[in-house]
Structure formats: structure tokens, C-alpha cells
């Protein structure tokens, strides 16, 4: 079937959206951008294709008869298969590093230790992907890395092998493994294996094993033809396709927001590197835009910096700020100055949640200035980008919009992070 793909190579994450000929989104993919945009683009495109296979399989199964349970289980088991396959590659890569002259004297001891570490991660893997299991990240590097650290430290201690050596081998190897993109064949095998695993453990599913396998096989055999791919985001020039296939994020976010909410007239996108205020017409065509000037104050990176300053995870910022009883006034939107103000407030004994609420407000005040420069906020208003997931940021934004522009429809999609890629896919569709 003909498909249209948009890839948004952001500074932090790379996103892909795959749509069919009816402009229905079949699959989405996301990965961390790392330093290699080529790999990031290939990985997230593959992920979007996997997403599309799931959607097509779901359509084939229909609803009822426990189809939802089967799908959920297939997805979990597929991720487990994917994890095990990558783990296997990691082990092999680690083994290859053992041939290095510096490990000559301790090669066999290291091999044994590594073997023990990998066997244990392998044993734990099904639990990591068990139903209801809480995974902090979906990226292989994060999951495998944290387990490797824990286990290697213990095994190293017990076997008298230096933890640093094991870590060194891991560090070298993970980069190689991360740069691997699974071929369609490998993915197909993982999907079929995932289904077998799922079918083994499932109860209450009326779909017969043979029917499920036949349906999945049919979905896998369906070629997802890349009719047209459009790239956007700061890494867009790295994409291996001609200039005509490249669109700026401004246009992609404008069109993407229009696709999600056709009534959109004003778009705010807070990305990793910049904040954009975009005005679109009734067709999703950009009529005006403004971006942050000369510094990254108030961008996604600012939040990352604040999280680092507070020694907490980025995703924890919003929830902590939501516990605020008042909003501490933070004057600086300059990233570094805000760090100074934050330390000053903490030293004065102010509540962490209140300070964070203030920081979120400071960012949104900055966004309001960019929005007003772009021509103000008009009904409907759509907020896109990763920061739209942050509840506290959204709260402050809602308040400021109401104070300055009155009651407007404010759209925020659960899939807001994919807005740019969606716009890209829509451009890909239009190009043909």
C-alpha cells in the first residue's frame, strides 16, 4: 500500500508519522535523536512502520472476542522480543571488544562475567515487559543500561573483575547497538515470535491461533511503500532525500495542528531549541510566525536545565510544580539567571514546588510575548511540542491565555509531540 511519512528530527527526540492514502495516521514512532540524525530518522521510521502494522492487525482482528487483550499482549511480547534481540546484539558486540589487546590477560574471566550479566538480564526481561510493569523509559539504552550497571557491579565485586572494565566494554558496545536499525525481516520475525508468546499465555481470547497468525502474516506481507517522505526539524538537512522533501518546522507545526484540530488559528510550539508562535488560516497555511530571539530562554531546554539544577528528571518537574500552594515570582527567563534565582529562592527557604510553579509561569510569559509578536492569540489555539505534556506548563498557559485573550478554545492533543511529523506526513501526501 502507498504510505506517506513525515519525520521530525528534533534536537532531543526524533518523531515519525506514517499515514495512508486516506490521510489516516497508521503509525507513530519516536526515538532519542542522539548525535546521529541518520540513525534516529531510520529508527523512528521503522517504529512508525511497526505502529502501522499494529494498526492494520487491529483492523484485521476487528473488535470483540478478546481482540483488545490479544493486541495488548502482542505489543508487550513484541517489545520483549525486540529487547531480547537487541540484548543479544549487545552481548555479541561486547564479546567482540574482548579481542582488544588491553583485555588479553583477562579475556576469559571477562567473558564469563559478561555472560553472567547478560544471562541475568535475559532472565529478568519477561518481568520488565510483564503486564502492569512500570517502565521508566521505552528506549533500549535506558532499560538495558540501568540493568547492566546494577548487575555488573555485583558480579564484578563477586568475581574480582573491575567494574570499570565491564562498564568500558558496555559503553563502547551500546553505541554500536544503538546505531543498528532492524531490517523489515527482523521486525517481521519479532512480530511473529511476539504473537506466539502472546498466544501461549492468553486466556479469554476467541481468535484461534491459526487465524491470528494468518492475519498477522498477511499484515506483515503487506508492503508499506514509502511513496513520499518529508523531513522537518533542525536535523532535516541530514535526511537522505532531496531539498523538495524538506519543510520547515513552522510550516509542519502549522499544518499538523490544523490536521489535529481543523479550527486552529494560532499555534504555540515549544520545542527543545526554540519557541514558535504561528498563525494559520482556515487551510492550515501559515500566515505569520515569530520565534524566540537570540537565546533559548523559555524553550524546552530551559526545563531540562532546571531539572538538572534540581537533580530531578525532566518528567518530574510538572508534577512537583502542580503541588504548589502559591507561585513564586521568577523574573528571569534567561536560562542561566533563572538557575541563579532558583538557588537564591531555595536558599531563602522557599518551597520547591512553588518555585517550580514560578519557573513554569516565567516560561509561559515568554511564550505569551512571542505569541503576541506573531499577531496575538485567536480562537482556536493549539499548543504543540513536548512541553504540552507538562501539566503545570499547560496550567500556566491556560491562565495567561484567559487573562490576556479571554475564553478561547485551547486544544492540546495527547499526541502533541507528533504534530511536526504529522504536518510533514500531510505535506508528503500533498506532494504526490
Amino acid at each position: 500500500m502507498r504510505t506517506f511519512i513525515g519525520i521530525d528530527l528534533g534536537s532531543t527526540t526524533t518523531k515519525a508519522v506514517l499515514m495512508d492514502e486516506n490521510q489516516a495516521v497508521l503509525g507513530r514512532g519516536i526515538t532519542n535523536s542522539r548525535s546521529n540524525y541518520d540513525v534516529a530518522a531510520a529508527v523512528c521510521k521503522q517504529e512508525a512502520k511497526i505502529g502501522a502494522r499494529f494498526t492494520l492487525f487491529k483492523n484485521a482482528l476487528g473488535s470483540g472476542g478478546g481482540a483488545e487483550i490479544l493486541l495488548e499482549d502482542l505489543e508487550r511480547n513484541f517489545r520483549l522480543e525486540q529487547f531480547l534481540s537487541e540484548l543479544n546484539q549487545l552481548e555479541q558486540t561486547c564479546e567482540n571488544y574482548l579481542d582488544h589487546p588491553r583485555f588479553k590477560d583477562m579475556k576469559s574471566a571477562l567473558r564469563e562475567a559478561l555472560g553472567a550479566v547478560f544471562r541475568q538480564i535475559e532472565t529478568e526481561a519477561p518481568a520488565i515487559y510483564a503486564p502492569e510493569a512500570d517502565r521508566k523509559s521505552d528506549f533500549f539504552r535506558d532499560i538495558a543500561g540501568s540493568r547492566f550497571m546494577d548487575i555488573a557491579e555485583r558480579i564484578g565485586r563477586e568475581s574480582g573483575i573491575s567494574f570499570e572494565s565491564l562498564l568500558n566494554i558496555y559503553d563502547k558496545s551500546i553505541i554500536d547497538v544503538e546505531s543498528l536499525v532492524h531490517s523489515d525481516e527482523v521486525v517481521s520475525r519479532q512480530l511473529m515470535n511476539g504473537l506466539s508468546r502472546a498466544l501461549k499465555e492468553l486466556e479469554g481470547v476467541e481468535v484461534s491461533e491459526a487465524d491470528a497468525q494468518a492475519a498477522l502474516k498477511k499484515v506483515i506481507d503487506l508492503e508499506l511503500e514509502e511513496t513520499y517522505v518529508v523531513g522537518t526539524g533542525y536535523g532535516r538537512v541530514r535526511l537522505p532525500f532531496p531539498k523538495e522533501h524538506i519543510r520547515s518546522e513552522i510550516l509542519c507545526h502549522g499544518l499538523g495542528a490544523h490536521m489535529m484540530f481543523p479550527g486552529t488559528r494560532t499555534v504555540l510550539d515549544i520545542g527543545g531549541q526554540d519557541t514558535k508562535g504561528i498563525q494559520v488560516d482556515e487551510n492550515g497555511i501559515v500566515v505569520n510566525f515569530q520565534m524566540n530571539d537570540r537565546c533559548a530562554a523559555g524553550c524546552g531546554r530551559y526545563l531540562g536545565y532546571i531539572a538538572d539544577e534540581m537533580k530531578i528528571g525532566l518528567h518530574e518537574l510538572g508534577p512537583i510544580a502542580m503541588k504548589a500552594t502559591k507561585t513564586t515570582r521568577i523574573n528571569s527567563t534567561c536560562t542561566v539567571f533563572a538557575g541563579a534565582e532558583l538557588r537564591d529562592r531555595l536558599a531563602l527557604g522557599e518551597n520547591r514546588a512553588d518555585i517550580l510553579a514560578g519557573l513554569h509561569r516565567a516560561i509561559m510569559l515568554r511564550a505569551m510575548s512571542i505569541l503576541s509578536r506573531s499577531g496575538g492569540v485567536t480562537d482556536q489555539f493549539t499548543f504543540t511540542g513536548g512541553v504540552a505534556k507538562n501539566e503545570s506548563a499547560v496550567n500556566e498557559l491556560r491562565k495567561l491565555i484567559r487573562e490576556n485573550y479571554g475564553e478561547l478554545t485551547i486544544n492540546i492533543s495527547d499526541e502533541s509531540i507528533y504534530t511536526g511529523a504529522l504536518g510533514g506526513a500531510a505535506f508528503a501526501y500533498r506532494a504526490v
Binding site: E249, H258, N283, I285, Q290, M291
Partner: protein, 429 residues
């Protein structure tokens, strides 16, 4: 492409020689020197007293294009000037602190007089206060009223003529020891007007499709002689004749814009640009345009020294002092916002441009104040999209190539998108 490989036309080479000769003249120690400014300068008047014209803004630009302004600005900041001060000023102050060496490698002499013809830029006043402090030389200030109503009035003109008669000319006579001869001034003004005719012819050629010239990046070369030490000279007449021939040749051959990297290729976008260029990354900035096939068909910066095309101003030998007054009053930065809006909107229509691009300069309040309003108004009047990029004059720290490129690409694609839609409804499913 290295600096040596830059493609230069005959007129560019001539201008280079002219500038070099003027620096040699200034640094020769054989002539009296006045420091003055570009907008609305009184070059013909200075020539009447055999006084050479040294322009601090041009020195700052020269240093920026030679990649020297960064260290000069840092030097000025070390001596206490804030980051927000006009970077032309800081490049000048820093240059003085570093030995005041002219682009020809010789030290600048201390000026014999500071002639400030204030035209719309408040910073000039403070700049000359600093220069006066440094040189302790006579200073004469020609106060040019801001054209708040859009048009200079008779009262404004009389006020300037009075100052010229009572203050400026007597001071220059005293400094030079030369008696003012109005017929000498008339002769210079006659020559000015001759060169100005060719200048305006040149500006208007970008109405053609494809435009044979770029009126912003190329325009800053074309405007050089007329706004600096050459207006009123035979050299300027020769230069503009040569430029005219060159452009005519391009027109005859059906050629588009020539860039430092060669012929531009297909003309895809026609823009009107407001605001000065960035000088420290001039080539890189221009490249972002010509690589995309964007040509600037008109710009406000080429009117910053004086506006000739908008209301058909020419220096007038029959009314010499009055015409100097009108010239000073009419420079772009001395015009009020509605006039600037009208000027830009007219340019967009007459030159059939796709839209207005503003290069907002961080350290230039004179240009930047009100630019967003100006953009909106021009958009309303023309129906063409506007866009904003932000850089600086000569401070290399304020040119973020990735950011500027991103905005420019977005703007060009926005124009494409609007064209494809053609204003009609192309709704998505």
C-alpha cells in the same frame, strides 16, 4: 570559496580604489579632516572647505567585513560600554583604543572638526559627545527636526538653513581658513544630481524580472559612493555611469543577479527588506538568500543616507542650502513610521515583491523601534506576508546562522505555500 575568489565587477573594483584613495587622503596629514555621519551628511559643503570626510559608521563596517569588529567591541566593553550600546559606536571606540588604525594600515589623524548632522538617530548625539571628549576639537551640530508629520515643513527647512548660515558655515570657515563660496557649492550639487539620476535609474531596474541586481546585498555596494565622501565629485559620476553600463549589459543579456559566488540562478522570490544588513557574516547571510533563489528588489537600507526615489529628491544647485536641508530632513531614519510603511508598501507593489522581510538589529533602536507594527501595516496594505529575522550590525556574537537560516527557509516555504494555495480553499480531508 576564498576571499580572493569573490566575483567582482569593474564598478566594484573602482569603488574599492575610491575608498582606498579617500583613506589615503584622510591619513596623509595634508588635509583637514571632519568626522561626520552617513545619514544626511553634508559632503558637498565639506568639499567647499577642502575638508576630507571621515565616517565612523563606514569604518565600523570596514572593520566588521575584515572580521576585526569583534575584538574592538570587546575592547569598548572592557572600558565600560554596555552590551546594549550601538555596536557601531563600540567598534569605533574600540578602534580608537587599539591605536585608531585606518583600513590602509596608517593611523587616523585626530579630526579637526566633528560635524554632526543629527538625522533620526539619537545615538549619534552620544557618540559625538564621546568623540568630543576624546579629541577635544571643535564640534558643530546641525539639528535636523524629526519629520514627525511625515513631510518636512518650510519651517523645518528654514531652521536648518539658518543653522547652516549662522553656525555650520562660519565654523567650517574658521577651521579651514577658506571663505565659503556658494557657487562652488552649486557646482558640487550639480554633480551630485547627475550621479543621483543614475543611482535612481539603477534602483528602479529591479522592477525587471528577473532583476539584474540585488538591492540589499548588492545595494550596499551601489549606494557606497553617493552616501559617503564622493557625492558631488566627478568620481561618483564616473562610478554611477559605469554601474549603469554594467547593469544595462546584464539587462541586455537577460541576466539575473550576480552574487559573490557567481550568477544566482533562477529568481524564485522577490523581497523587500527593511533594516541594515549584518556585516560580520555578510557573505554567509547573502548566501542564504541567493541559494534559495531570493533576490531583494528594494530595501530601506539603501535609503538610509538619503531617499531619492520616493519623492524624487535631487540636490538642487539653484537652491543650494535649501536642498541640503531637504536632503537631511528626508533620510529614511528621519521619517515617521507611516511614511516608512507607505514607502515599503509602495516598493512591494511597484517592484512586484512577494513580501517584506525585516532584519531587526539588536543594537539599533533607530531602525528597530516599531518594526513589528510596521510589518503588520505593510502586510495589511499589500496582502503579502512579512517575516522577521534578528541579527546585529557589527557584533559577530549576534548572528546565529542556524536560527536565521531556519527563519528564512520557513519564510520562503511560507511564500511557496501561499502561492500554491493561491488564496483559494485547498482543504485537507
Amino acid at each position: 570559496m576564498s576571499q580572493q575568489d569573490v566575483i567582482k565587477s569593474r564598478s566594484m573594483l573602482l569603488q574599492k580604489e575610491m575608498i582606498a584613495r579617500n583613506y589615503d587622503k584622510i591619513t596623509s596629514g595634508e588635509v583637514k579632516v571632519s568626522s561626520t555621519f552617513v545619514p544626511g551628511n553634508l559632503n558637498e559643503l565639506l568639499m567647499c572647505f577642502d575638508i576630507a570626510n571621515n565616517l565612523p559608521e563606514i569604518n565600523a563596517i570596514q572593520n566588521a567585513m575584515r572580521k576585526k569588529s569583534g575584538e574592538m567591541i570587546m575592547e569598548a566593553e572592557r572600558s565600560g560600554h554596555s552590551e546594549d550600546v550601538c555596536t557601531y559606536v563600540k567598534a569605533d571606540i574600540g578602534m580608537m583604543a587599539k591605536g585608531n588604525i585606518a583600513p590602509n594600515g596608517k593611523p587616523f589623524p585626530d579630526p579637526d572638526v566633528l560635524l554632526l548632522s543629527y538625522t533620526g538617530c539619537f545615538t549619534f548625539l552620544k557618540w559625538f559627545e564621546l568623540l568630543r571628549e576624546q579629541y577635544k576639537c571643535p564640534t558643530v551640530m546641525l539639528q535636523v527636526p524629526y519629520s514627525a508629520d511625515g513631510q518636512p515643513t518650510k519651517n523645518h527647512r528654514d531652521y536648518i538653513v539658518k543653522q547652516l548660515k549662522e553656525e555650520v558655515i562660519p565654523t567650517l570657515e574658521k577651521i579651514s581658513g577658506i571663505k565659503f563660496d556658494i557657487d562652488r557649492l552649486r557646482e558640487y550639487l550639480r554633480k551630485s544630481a547627475k550621479a543621483e539620476d543614475d543611482l535612481v535609474w539603477m534602483l528602479e531596474q529591479s522592477k525587471r524580472k528577473p532583476s539584474p541586481i540585488d538591492c540589499y546585498f548588492g545595494g550596499v555596494y551601489y549606494m557606497g559612493p553617493i552616501f559617503t565622501a564622493f557625492r558631488g565629485t566627478d568620481e561618483a559620476i564616473t562610478y554611477y555611469q559605469m554601474l549603469r553600463e554594467e547593469i544595462q549589459e546584464r539587462i541586455d543579456k537577460g541576466l539575473g543577479v550576480q552574487t559573490p559566488e557567481g550568477e544566482m540562478g533562477e529568481e524564485k522570490y522577490r523581497l523587500v527588506v527593511e533594516g541594515p544588513p549584518n556585516w560580520t557574516s555578510f557573505r554567509e547571510f547573502w548566501k542564504m538568500f541567493h541559494e534559495a533563489g531570493a533576490v531583494v528588489v528594494a530595501s530601506s537600507y539603501t535609503k538610509v543616507g538619503g531617499v531619492y526615489d520616493y519623492d524624487n529628491f535631487r540636490h538642487d544647485p539653484d537652491h543650494p542650502l535649501e536642498s541640503l536641508a531637504d536632503y537631511c530632513l528626508g533620510v529614511y531614519t528621519n521619517r515617521n513610521l507611516p511614511t516608512r510603511v507607505d514607502m515599503l508598501a509602495r516598493n512591494i507593489k511597484e517592484y512586484e515583491a512577494d513580501g517584506l522581510l525585516i532584519n531587526s538589529i539588536k543594537s539599533c533602536n533607530s531602525f528597530s523601534a516599531g518594526q513589528l507594527v510596521l510589518m503588520r501595516e505593510v502586510e495589511k496594505l499589500t496582502g503579502k506576508p512579512g517575516a522577521f529575522v534578528e541579527t546585529d550590525l557589527v557584533d559577530p556574537r549576534y548572528f546565529s546562522a542556524a536560527n536565521v537560516k531556519n527563519r528564512l527557509e520557513s519564510y520562503f516555504q511560507m511564500i511557496d505555500q501561499k502561492r500554491r494555495a493561491g488564496g483559494s480553499a485547498t482543504t485537507l480531508a
